[in-house]
Amino acid sequence: MTRLVLKRLAYGLLTLFVVSLVVFLATQALPGDAARAILGRDATPERLEALRAQLRLDDPLVVQYGSWLAGVVTLDLGTSFANALPVSEYLAQRAVGSLTLMALAAVIATPVAVFLGAYSALRRDRAADHATSAATLVLAAIPEFAVGILLILAFSTGFLHLLPAVFAGNGQAVLEDPEQLVLPVATLVLAVSPPIIRMMRASMIEVLESEYVQQARLKGLPERTVIWRHAAPNAIGPVAQVIALQLGWLAGGVVAIEYLFGFPGIGLALMDAINTRDLPVIQAVTLLIAAVYIVVNLLADIVGLAANPKVRVSAR
């Protein structure tokens, strides 16, 4: 077990390294170079030359990559072209904002989705089950920004002016005005829940048909004990992996949602950076999102291993 986990860990680090290489090389493929991107088309050759020297653009690629990577490791991500702030400082509070949003969505979505999945398994082939099944099928298909717009149309326009359609305020105090968080969080919850619900339902049905559940029932245990003591804990194992994967998806999924609601997080920072061609910020945000994604996938792998008794025992 430990060896398998260590192997996955090493593999995750390798992936992260390759991703950093991809991010770096992708930004090198820019037509012209960073100096021209900063100074614009009308820059004089002397100024371009001076800035190139300042940014060390004349060094060989390997050296540039090395110093960039060293910077990443020490959290020195360079200076933003657009607002002259150090990137790590600029992104820090935005990252907190995004993480708050993601954490709220995760904390709400996970128990609700697990409960709904278990409930529809218990009411298999009844109206409630069919309704949940149809709802998850529909929600799993619609792109998340469209879910957000439908929520805005329903709750912020027309007759119901219940909730604000956009987020006003800065990233430092996102929790100060909880009313503004309702729609973004609700959108994310609706976007991540369907696969969890479906997996929980399938897993629960399988467990409910197993012999030990039958045995527990035959012992005369009350149905509530059978379900919540015997069936549910065993059904959650395979679901844990799906939950972890969905939380990883959140890291990329927040981009469109933050853009839609004007929420001051890393996703909106990425879109702003793309519009101003702010390379250090683009590099930092894509690397950050990929890192979160890789770490969560790694956790999903480990959870999957831990939930599988065969692996747990045989590979000790």
Partner: protein
């Protein structure tokens, strides 16, 4: 090749052979959800295809004051610069549908070839393909597309390539697993024994036997392609103004949502219905193919 798979009574029974080819489509058609999906997605695709021919105005024609809902001669009013919302809606679908289907087909084709080759030839190729896959999967699809497009600029061919490339590893995994199950069977071994070249075994023996999972993947990939492309356009990284495009319409008009909801509501509804329809069809195919509920994953 038997077409008798259509009447395999209990699809969940382990003994029932997986439906394939035409039998699969017939089984899938038997589910109500498939019919609903075909009706919904069909209606949206029809709107997208016929729309440009029946629209009352040109998509870039100015017909009245901006952001009005009660302009004479228009059904849903005008957008943020005074163009007819309904005409732009009718013009805005076919590029989305075309690009999404092309990207999904390319991604599934590439993934199927890679997955089959990895699963059948095994060895070093298998390792290489699957490791490269894992690396590609380390990027969320949307972020990969945004990273590359932010550097090379938003172009239609680039969207197709990027989405196909990000679909391919996901399809390859499924194709490889399906191939591994087929390779063990006797007809593959006997074909090998009489010396059929390997590429012909892949094309003639393995491919026909994994069409079920591949069709399901195609449906799933079309669903996600529509979503991704619409999201990219919505983020301003897809088709560029003044082209009429559903995602772009949403992006352009979302600030005036409260005054002129139609210019956002129509394209959002179309995108949502298209993805819902495609997903319903996919679900029908999945049920026909494996007979169990599919855990949908983003």
């Amino acid at each position: 090749m038997t077409a008798a798979t259509a009447d395999t009574g209990a699809p969940a029974a382990p003994a029932a052979p997986p439906a394939r080819g035409r039998g699969l489509l017939r089984t899938a058609w038997g589910y109500g959800r498939t019919k609903a999906g075909v009706a919904i997605a069909g209606a949206v695709v029809l709107t997208a295809v016929i729309g440009p021919f029946v629209s009352p105005y040109a998509p870039t024609e100015l017909v009245g004051i901006p952001n009005a809902t009660d302009v004479d001669g228009t059904l849903f009013g005008t957008d943020q610069v005074g163009r007819d919302v309904f005409s732009r809606f009718l013009h805005g679908g076919y590029t989305l549908v075309l690009v999404a289907v092309t990207a999904a087909l390319a991604g599934v084709a590439a993934g199927a070839v890679l997955g089959m080759a990895a699963g059948y030839l095994r060895g070093r190729l298998d390792d290489l393909v699957m490791r490269a896959n894992d690396m590609l999967l380390a990027f969320p699809q949307l972020v990969l597309a945004l990273l590359v497009m932010s550097i090379l600029g938003p172009k239609v061919w680039l969207i197709v390539v990027l989405i196909a490339v990000s679909h391919a590893p996901r399809v390859a995994r499924v194709a490889r697993e399906a191939t591994l199950r087929v390779v063990e069977q006797d007809f593959v071994k006997s074909a090998e024994a009489i010396g059929v070249p390997r590429w012909r075994i892949m094309a003639g023996e393995i491919l026909p036997n994994i069409t079920g999972p591949l069709l399901v993947e195609l449906g799933l990939r079309i669903t996600y392609s529509v979503g991704l492309i619409a999201t990219l356009s919505f983020l301003g990284m897809g088709l560029q103004p003044p082209i009429a495009d559903w995602g772009l319409m949403i992006n352009e008009n979302r600030v005036v949502l409260t005054v002129q909801p139609w210019s956002v509501a129509l394209p959002v509804a179309a995108v949502a219905l298209l993805t819902i329809g495609a997903n319903l069809i996919t679900d029908g195919l999945a049920r026909a193919s494996i007979g169990i509920d599919r855990g949908v994953q983003k």
